[in-house]
Amino acid sequence: MNAPIISSRRDILRYAGAAGALIIAAPLASCARRAKLEQDAPPPALEWFEGEIGPFVVINADETIVIGSPNPEMGQGVDTSLPMLVAEELEVDFDKVRMVQMPLGLKTGDDGEITWKHVPQGSGGSTSIPENWEALRRAGALARTLLVAAAAERFGVPVAELTAANGVVTHEGTGRSASYGALAQEAAAIAPPAEAPALKPRSRFRIIGKPQKMKNARAIVTGRAVYGIDATLPGMLHAVMERCPYFDGTAISVDDSAARAVDGVVDVVKVRRPPLDGPYDVQAEGYAVVATSLWAAMKGRRALRIEWDHGPYADESSESFKRHCADLLSGAGRIARHDGDFDAAFAGAAETYEATYWEPYVSHAPLEPQNALADVRADAVTIIAPTQTPSSCNRMVAAALGRERLDVKVLPTRLGGGFGRRLSNDYAVEAALISQAVAKPVKLLWTREDDLQHDFYRPAGMHELKAAFNDAGELTGWTHRLASASKYYRREGLPEDEYWTSEFWDDDFPANMTPNYRLEYFSARSGAPRGSWRAPAHTANAFVVQSFLNEIAHRRGEDPLALRLRLLGEPREIPYKNHGGPVFNPGRLAACLKLAAEKGAYGEKTPPGRGRGIAGHFTFGGYCAQVVDVEVDGDGRLKTTRVVAAVDIGSVVNPNGVIAQLESGVNDGLSTALRLAIEIEGGRVTTSNFDTYPLMKIADAPPVIETHIIDNGDAPSGMGEMGIPPLAPALAHAIFEATGKRIRTLPIADQLRA
């Protein structure tokens, strides 16, 4: 994310008033208007607030309480959990709160740079809760303070004699009281206190830590929730686009005459390819068919006749890339980290272990295909889109159009899934360029094939691991050699020498737990675009590291859990400089492993054909361990029968949301491990739809998922990603216990057959 964090608390908590409404943190509130929200109405996601509704809190005279949720909602539950933070300090009944998705708020900071108007507004890296944990509680506390001050003036009593609870301010001495709705207008006229109000201690939380169901569930089950694909603007045209399927290819010839002849087609617009030596803005050269209806645009697209050059990666295939990685591993790579002397430790070891693993490219495949609605005008630009990073969307669109950033308004809709795909905003840039070309609002829609063939994939790679143990059974050396096509490429100022930094997080376990530790990276050449896939490198590395530990334990005749626990050692804080730091406490991971083991009856003997496996990982500040049970029948058919998880993410805001995200992580991890791989042939992705990219269905989902939460009161991390990394290695372990077969290549696909 590009925008810097807020410059001061004062910026977060500026207030202003409007008739009948108290609006917190709305510098432009003179033009504010109230959200008209009826019970059970869908969230007004497509009402363009444009800073008119005060971010975070609106209290109407009719007692409706509206809380803005700054971060895009993609299923991770922030449109419930973030308003909980505000409501906790505001002292309102959470059942009476309505949620509104806020548009992107940017401003020019004191230093002249563009900065957040209120708080950071991206959804990625499991950061929404930790980044807003304090700021949104303070926003709620300030609103409450102003309401109490208004009551004090009205009643002529000191502030200290008033209490605020359940949307009412009460003076106990006289028995007088006033509702928030009645006080809102007066409160809006009161200057904010110089000192930020104090926050409640944890012991007084009434909302935080109590399970809440998803706020907008009724809109979803009645079909009224509004996603990007549902957005409209008056006079809007529709566009679909044929992109070059070949990596970095370009058109040799284009005949759009038949497309233009389709009834309803208005124009065919070329979208130029992205720079080949710098960051992507769009992903590929393409030709957008713009029409008065979506169906006309789709028919027009089918009528395009384009001959593509196969580009600089025409020889690349899934197999050739795998061979390329294997070739690289036979040489010497970039040493990303080296403690002690691994080679000496390996040479002098009592026991050594080696294993090689392969993980394929995988796609995000959010169920809502990419789309964006753009309205590019001379005086302003509007983007309505399902984006995880509205500020990045703003920056990229402004750059592509040559406009000022503050002229580009972005309204994130609800997202039909994100998983990291919508950190990239290439589809919004496309829509903006097309709208600019036709001078009309344009909604661009991708098909599923477009989505699977033009993703920013999770990097594929070959991992070679080696470990050394001494006579005493101590881990004396560990090396992890990885050949992959990094997701860090085409980045300004980042030399290839640094590409490893997205694929290894060099303080990850078992770093700092063995004296001789080496990470070696080989930057592989591939034309496949790469990006962040839910828990990025953690999914890849947890699979190989945890699987390798299970192999080592088996060969040493040691229990895999016992091996982990002795490697992790006592609770202590170890510096962790990557995202999720600044410390890693192995004791917290050990506690998760022990709890999952206890609740999942790990260690109990399983009957033939069944197996139970375990794994744990530290992801972006959160600790998670899982015990997975499987059954494998005589034909090699695999059934995951149960997953028991333990998670420690510090303080929990919404336990129901944590459990939902854990379940989601388990099923995402399982779906991906079972069958998912993006296939490449002839310099293009050949995987095209859910027949060749078979996302898991209910029949393969574990009927039992148990989540055990350790809420230790520490500062919270997020929960969007922690549930995935342990799943695949615990699954592979369970499969080994059931069948004796080691899964070293993902996906599992038909490896268990015959």
């Binding site: 979803i220 089950v221 959010p366 295909p369 609800r414 739809n689 269905k697 209910i698 029949a699």
Partner: protein, 155 residues
């Protein structure tokens, strides 16, 4: 002019007979609860009822629904009284991103008409809609709860 019924209302259609029902419902009828996921009948996000049966509207040409009665998620509830499947989805808090859920609910509603008291095996065999968020655990509970709610309302 060819006609069909959508959520109990008679509507005309004079356009391309090859256009999928999905686009008619979304783009011409404004019924955007019906979702586009794959365009190839593989995910079920576009599931609606045609004469009571669950169909994947993304591969259902308009020519095939002439005279038919189509129900979408918007027409599933009885006014403000939610359908038992919708009610069960709220009680089990099934949705995450929610994008697939309208299709899931329509598929389950039709499934329960044929299989009013399903076993887990019936669910595994009979429900094939994709949920990318992986809400299957709660979805399964939701199906069982919907079956119970439905039985309760019938008695």
């Amino acid at each position: 002019m060819p006609q069909l019924k959508v959520n109990g209302r008679r509507v005309d259609y004079a356009g391309d007979p090859d256009m999928p029902l999905l686009w008619f419902l979304r783009e011409e009828q404004g019924l955007t609860g019906v979702k586009f996921g794959c365009g190839a009948a593989l995910c079920g996000a576009c599931t609606v009822h045609v004469d009571g049966a669950a169909v994947r509207s993304c591969v259902t040409p308009m020519a095939s629904v002439e005279g038919a009665s189509v129900t979408t998620i918007e027409g599933l509830s009885d006014g403000e009284t939610l359908h038992p499947v919708q009610e069960a989805w709220l009680e089990e808090d099934v949705a995450q991103c929610g994008y697939c859920q309208a299709g899931q609910i329509m598929a389950v509603a039709a499934f329960l008409e044929k299989t009013p008291d399903p076993t887990d095996a019936d669910i595994d065999d009979g429900l094939t809609n994709i949920c990318r968020c992986g809400t299957y655990h709660r979805l399964r509970k939701g199906v069982h709860r919907a079956a119970a709610l439905r039985a309760g309302r019938a008695s």
